[in-house]
Structures are given as structure tokens and as C-alpha cells.
């Protein structure tokens, strides 16, 4: 169980922002190749990248409601849209009167 602070990996400062982009797959072409080749020869950046791959997925709290939830979601929203329609009709009638 984790209850003490582990030392975090230290990447080259000027590559940190791009390493985040590389993690998310937002670097392409020559930029991606150049950084990947740097990472291959840099222990700090390689460790940083691997740490992102381990830590960032922990932040996602998955919630996958079942089909009933989605059915109710749509039904409830249709009722709210009906109310909105009704309100619009009443408002326009009120304005016309």
C-alpha cells in the first residue's frame, strides 16, 4: 500500500511539455520522431514518460451506467424538452395577447 512519497522521475525541463503531448499521442511526424529518439537515450525522460503512463490512468473515475440509465436519461430529457416547448408556446401566446 502506498503511504509514503516516492521520488518522482525527473525529465529534461525543456522536454517536459512535449513529453506530456507524446503521452497523449498529440505529437506527430518529425516532432514525435525527434522526441522519441531523445527518450530512447535519456533515462530521466524515459522514466518520466513511463510514470505518466502509470499515474494518469489513476485519475479517471470510470462510470458506465447500465442501459436502463440511458433509457431513463432520454425519456427524462424528452419530458424536459416538452416542458420547454410548452413554456415557449405560453410565452409567445402571452406576448401576442
Amino acid at each position: 500500500m502506498a503511504n509514503q512519497t516516492n521520488a518522482l522521475a525527473t525529465a529534461c525541463k525543456n522536454f517536459e511539455e512535449d513529453l506530456v503531448l507524446l503521452h497523449y499521442g498529440d505529437l506527430h511526424g518529425a516532432e514525435q520522431d525527434a522526441l522519441q529518439s531523445h527518450v530512447n537515450g535519456c533515462n530521466g525522460c524515459a522514466a518520466y514518460l513511463s510514470e505518466l503512463g502509470k499515474l494518469l490512468p489513476l485519475t479517471v473515475k470510470a462510470d458506465e451506467p447500465d442501459p436502463t440509465f440511458w433509457y431513463d436519461y432520454s425519456r427524462e430529457l424528452r419530458h424536459k424538452l416538452d416542458d420547454l416547448d410548452l413554456l415557449e408556446i405560453m410565452t409567445s401566446q402571452g406576448n401576442a395577447a
Binding site: M1, E17, V20, L55, T59, K61, D63, P65, R78
Partner: protein, 219 residues
């Protein structure tokens, strides 16, 4: 369509939309059977409720998950995402098509989520973890049985992540949720937040840096 019709018939278009005319034909898509968002918006702007309901069906899951990323509470996420659809519906006549529907819609949603967070900050202490744990349907728990230690660790991580996300400035949190949780591209996030891609990258890097520090013990 009347509200009395069976709900199933509202869920998605089973038949071609008669109101969509002049749709652009493409080789890999039949526009009449599977209209683009823009075509549905055009129909909805002419008063076709079913077209809007189809947009809801297309985007509701992603909208809900974005809202859940902010609220981390099922009921609030549902309300927030539904409110975004209602607001979009009410303002549809103002949508001019300069951006895609989903960019426009997600902008509405993100603004509602940010308002929600602002209101929450003014409210008494947030019961983040307990709320989430209680509202999670047990049927959505991981199928593999957890040991007591794993349960404790999961709770510990959940609390840490919750407070770390709460501590992020609003723009950093927004960028992080849209990229990390929802997989929107940097370009899409920039359009949604009406900011430059470079700014999005800076926010993302800062958010990741802050979260790494908060979660260091799990590295």
C-alpha cells in the same frame, strides 16, 4: 411527434428523415439514413424535434462523461448534461454553423460544469468521495474481487485524485478532463474553450505537473 408516442420510437432515426432535403451525398455515407450533425441541426432549427433528439442520442454519453469528470457524481452529471442539451435546444436558432455542433454544444456543457464547480466551492465542504462511492452502482464495480487492501488503496487513490482535481485552477482542470478523461484532441479543446492550442498545451502540462506531485506516492 407527440409526447404520447412510445419512447422507443424517439431513441434514434430508424427511417430516413423526410425533412432533410438536399443532403450532400458521399461514397461512404447515406445522408438520408445517417445524416450529419449539421443536417440534423438544420432540421431541428426548422422545428423538427426528432432531429434534435437524434443529436441528443449521438452526444449524450460523451456529454454525461464530461460532466461526470467535473462532478464525479452520477445524478449531478446527468442533470448537468441534460441542462446543456436544454440550453442548446433553447438557443439552437442562434447556432450559425461557424463551428461544428459538438464544439458549440461542448462549450455550453463545459461552461455549465464550470458554473457548477463555482457554486460548489461556495457551498459547504464537498463530500466528494463518499458521494461517489455511494452513488456508484455496485453492478459497475470491477468484476475481479478486491482484497481489503486493494479496497483501501482504491479509496485512498480516489480521495487523492478528487482533492488534486479540485485544487486545479478551472482552466487546467477543464483541459485535463477533456484530454485525459474524454480524449478530445488539443485542437478540439482549443475550439471548445475558444483559446489557442498553445494555451491548451500549457494548461495541460501544468495540470499534469500538479497531479503528478499530488499522486507521487502511487508512482
Amino acid at each position: 411527434m407527440t409526447p404520447l408516442e412510445p419512447a422507443e420510437s424517439h431513441l434514434s432515426f430508424r427511417r430516413p428523415l423526410p425533412s432533410i432535403s438536399g443532403a450532400v451525398k458521399s461514397q461512404d455515407r447515406s445522408p438520408l439514413v445517417n445524416p450529419r450533425d449539421e443536417e440534423l441541426v438544420a432540421s431541428a432549427q426548422k422545428g423538427e424535434r426528432r432531429a434534435f433528439e437524434e443529436l441528443v442520442e449521438r452526444h449524450k454519453q460523451k456529454a454525461y462523461h464530461i460532466a461526470f469528470g467535473f462532478a464525479r457524481d452520477r445524478e449531478d452529471a446527468k442533470d448537468l448534461s441534460q441542462d446543456a442539451f436544454l440550453k442548446a435546444f433553447a438557443n439552437l436558432k442562434n447556432f450559425d454553423g461557424r463551428s461544428s455542433f459538438y464544439t458549440w454544444f461542448y462549450r455550453i456543457l463545459v461552461n455549465l460544469c464550470l458554473d457548477y464547480k463555482r457554486r460548489q466551492k461556495r457551498a459547504p465542504a464537498d463530500e466528494f468521495d463518499e458521494t461517489v462511492e455511494h452513488q456508484m452502482d455496485p453492478s459497475h464495480e470491477p468484476k475481479t474481487a478486491r482484497t481489503p487492501d486493494q479496497h483501501v488503496l482504491a479509496g485512498q487513490i480516489s480521495r487523492k485524485v478528487g482533492s488534486a482535481l479540485e485544487a486545479l485552477p478551472a482552466k487546467q482542470r477543464t483541459v485535463f478532463i477533456l484530454r485525459n478523461h474524454q480524449g478530445l484532441s488539443i485542437k478540439e479543446i482549443a475550439e471548445t474553450m475558444e483559446t489557442a492550442e498553445g494555451t491548451v498545451k500549457v494548461h495541460l502540462h501544468r495540470a499534469v505537473t500538479a497531479l503528478r506531485q499530488s499522486l507521487a506516492e502511487f508512482a
